[in-house]
């Protein structure tokens, strides 16, 4: 978690993209703790009506966030997720995807 360069490489391999992204895991960790954890839990296991993120790979997380950002409906929690994703940049989505997929197995 404290080795962003290595993880960035890993993320690129995992996500199968040729597009380089600036991965900032420190910011992603803070974003997760202050925003995502309210519903998905501190360890990503989900709770109540909110799904678990554990075991999801970076591509899955990234694709969902981009769909929400684009205003697509993806399941019943879309109204909660769309506003969260609207302001995220590609780099922030990539960072969150790496953070979540590497920390919540």
């Amino acid at each position: 978690m404290k080795r962003p360069t290595l993880l960035a490489v890993a993320a690129l391999l995992t996500m199968g993209t040729a597009e380089a992204r600036a991965i900032d895991l420190t910011v992603a960790e803070k974003t997760y703790a202050t925003v995502c954890a309210n519903c998905h839990g501190r360890t990503g296991k989900g709770m109540a009506s909110f799904p678990s993120l554990a075991g999801r790979d970076a591509t899955y997380i990234s694709d969902r966030l981009k769909q929400y950002r684009a205003g697509e409906k993806v399941g019943p929690n879309t109204p909660l997720m769309m506003p969260q994703a609207t302001e995220l940049s590609d780099d922030e989505i990539a960072s969150l995807s790496v953070y979540i997929s590497t920390n919540f197995k």
Binding site: G41, M47, A48, P76, T78, L80, P83
Partner: protein, 427 residues
Amino acid sequence: MKQHAIAWSLCAALTSGVILGLPAVAAAQSNGPSITPTTVLSGLDNPWDMAFLPDGTMFFTEKCRGLSVMLPSGEVNALLGMKDSQGYASTNDDLFCEGQAGMNGVAVDPNFASNRQIYVYSTSSLSDPVTNRVMRLKVNDDLTGVSDRTDIIDDIQYKPAATNHPFGGPGAHNGGRVRFNPGDGFLYVTTGDTHNGKVPQSPTLIGSKVLRVDRDGNAATGNTPPEGFDARTYTYGHRNVQGIAFRPGDNQPVVAEHGPWHTDEITVLKNGGNGGWDPRPNMAGRGDCPDDYCGYEPNQMKGMDATERAAYMPMTDSKTFPEAMQPAWTNNGLSQGTSSAEFLTGEQWGDWDGRLVVGIMGIGFGGTPVGQRIDVIDLSDDGMSVKEVTTMAIPMATGRYRSVVQGPDGNLYTAVDQGEIYMLSPN
């Protein structure tokens, strides 16, 4: 399954119930006592409710696992598991979870010492269509198992399929709290609208109601619902009641409800009263709505001004129902996930003795702050307003406060969806 909470290894403690101390700090309050939190159980799966015996024995439910009990020694016995649960003394395969539904509330019979009965609200597949049930169970003498299951209510509506709404999956708006009123001795059961527009004002469907029944599930003598209503109805026209408590002194029932993108409510109930929630389409100036449920309209998928939303789809529609019960508190017009309720009692609470505490789970939508917290509310004597609202300062990370229950030791216990049960001690 037997679990010994105190003597376990650290490894076990990380994944199962165990008593752990949080840093011994207390938070200063603007009024009332400071609070010291202590972790009672952790590693739980969506703990939903607790109920105590006088010696501190604590029954608790986990939404997708089942019913367990923690003894005063800290030992945890898993009593009744749901479908696919492991390690329980017994399992009932008809009990299942989906979305907000599953094993919810638990209450101890006031005469437990002689009849050893407890009551549990759970979703069950025994009926077709599926329903929620209130089960009466007998606990054995050494608190290692339950038997003699009797479903005293078996016809509470359940949402069986997804619909085109926020949180629109199966199991939505499932109600689920069960509490005995110390004043009249009856069992109160809170139910939800299941995203079905017809349910709240229906005389025969028992979702969106507060039911009042005896130990066998029969209607309480003295219920006064409108003519033609199910006789078990104490109040109707609710959205999704998850909190109910009884005011010290007069034992008047008070409910907490989660609002529809606006207006969480606390309401002092009147026997036979209407909560004024009516999400049917083509009512009160509304047109058609997604899947015949207007509960999140207008503009259900996007944020907008809460006042404007409330004018279109009011939580309490006083124009259509002039006699509707009026809320004492509306969370400043916001919806943040109001769940459970309890009255604090005892001089250890100082200025808060007799005040209502409400657990708020937190929902950040359309610019509304998430708002996870426990509020301490001073209700007016007539129950029509609040005199003061204080957010309890608790020196720990916030959680989705699903349940608040005062224990026999005078402390407040709270379950959070994250998987913990905490003891909150006043100083």
